[in-house]
Symmetry: C2
């Protein structure tokens, strides 16, 4: 079955995030009351798996092995839905 | 009051996403059954606003004016929570 997962990858707490700081500064210059911005990545993965548990395990392994740098980044699975065909 | 919003910004449907394709190809080489990967951005914004409706409006305006390229990217507000102090 096909599953779609959304993964978010963030710079860890305490890790400098210069891109986020630049966005925050730009927002302030435009008049927004921005206090802090952290800039991460979002990935939408579509993958084949037998069931939801295996899909979740595969996504977690992909984060650990490829998608996130564990020293600098934390990842989280934000959504996981099956693309089962209806009808 | 302070609010924290998470915004996701995606390449629009039909827009070529070479970074997502490269990630998909790497996942396949590692043995994952990845069918498609789209690579976007995730931003966590902390901002001051009087209430939740104004916070949401400010985040949407920030997406339109600065954060997303409307030709190539679609944005969505994924979370919006107030950081009210308890106690």
């Amino acid at each position: 079955m096909k599953y779609t997962a959304v993964v978010r990858i963030w710079p860890r707490e305490g890790v400098l995030d210069p891109a986020g700081l630049a966005v925050c500064e730009s927002l302030r210059r435009l008049g927004f009351a921005a206090a802090e911005v952290r800039l991460g990545k979002a990935l939408r993965l579509t993958l084949d798996a037998e069931d939801e548990a295996r899909a979740r395990a595969a996504v977690a392994e992909a984060c650990r092995r490829l998608l996130a740098n564990p020293v600098l980044e934390a990842w989280e699975i934000d959504e996981l839905v099956s693309l089962a065909r209806s009808g």
